[in-house]
């Protein structure tokens, strides 16, 4: 049993991440499913850390993840969870994640508008595409080094969250 909204969000984020990782390891399953869970992990990690222990949850929003990454880049416990010894290296590492973190954040259907997302079909130039048909080359957590790095960072944040639970 979780204690409050913060731990509930962080517990759910941890479970979402475990599913994202399991899906990422299954090359017979379209990568969109792993990204769907990774986007939900990112959203809940941000909401969890944005909720003070014992407090009510903040207003629902899909746009907290990039801000969270920036803030986490200032915190030594996240640096420790990422196993990066030098603060300079950690800052550079976090800075390098921001562009793709924004792309991942905008995969939420509510932010994608009528465009590419990991959950619902969309139409572009008269062509309807299902997420399972999209390669997500920039976010391919099986192949793209930047996407793999972003997924590792999210894993570190999940680990930091589990430390406090």
């Amino acid at each position: 049993m979780t204690k409050d909204w913060r731990s509930a969000f962080l517990a759910q984020a941890g479970s979402d991440y475990d599913v994202a990782r399991a899906l990422a390891e299954r090359s017979d399953i379209p990568v969109s499913h792993a990204l769907h869970y990774l986007q939900m992990t990112a959203e809940k990690v941000a909401k969890g850390f944005q909720t003070a222990p014992g407090a009510a949850p903040i207003a629902r929003s899909h746009v907290a993840f990039v801000s969270f990454v920036r803030a986490a880049g200032n915190m030594p416990q996240i640096q420790h969870a990422c196993k990066i010894g030098s603060r300079r290296q950690f800052s550079a590492y976090v800075q390098s994640l921001l562009p793709l973190a924004s792309v991942l954040e905008r995969l939420a259907p509510a932010l994608a508008g009528d465009g590419r997302n990991a959950e619902y079909p969309w139409e572009h130039d008269g062509q309807v595409t299902a997420p399972v048909e999209e390669g997500f080359l920039d976010l391919n957590v099986r192949r793209d080094p930047r996407a793999i790095k972003l997924m590792q960072f999210i894993s570190c944040c999940v680990d930091a969250a589990r430390e406090e639970m």
């Binding site: 909720t51 801000s67 986490a72 200032n74 800052s91 406090e164």
Partner: protein, 110 residues
């Protein structure tokens, strides 16, 4: 370096944290510390952060092994948002109670 709250004050722990942050985050132009006895409450004014209607900090647990024995609430807002003094989290004192604990002298980080 394991520390307890008996080893360091909230303000001194905040100063240490901010010293590292501003060294590696060139977008930070000013940092406010809001008074609290058991929590580091920081608002960093960062040219690279996103617009926000309210100050919504992220809360990080105390990290005694890293020298920070207090929970940290950290928010990043833009200079434009700083000028309009957005609403603060419930329970925080108002902007007038905050102390500027760091700021650039000429708009740059040398």
């Amino acid at each position: 370096m394991i520390r307890t709250t008996a080893d360091i004050s909230v303000r001194d722990a905040a100063m240490e944290l901010v010293r590292d942050n501003v060294r590696y985050e060139p977008g930070i132009v000013r940092v406010y510390l809001f008074p609290a006895s058991d929590e580091i409450r920081l608002v960093e004014i960062d040219r690279n952060s996103a617009d926000a209607e309210t100050v919504q900090p992220f809360y990080f647990s105390a990290y005694p092994a890293g020298g920070i024995p207090y929970r940290t609430a950290l928010a990043l807002i833009t200079p434009a948002d700083e000028r309009r003094r957005p609403a603060l989290p419930e329970g925080w004192p108002d902007w007038d109670a905050a102390e500027v604990i760091w700021e650039t002298t000429d708009g740059t980080h040398d």
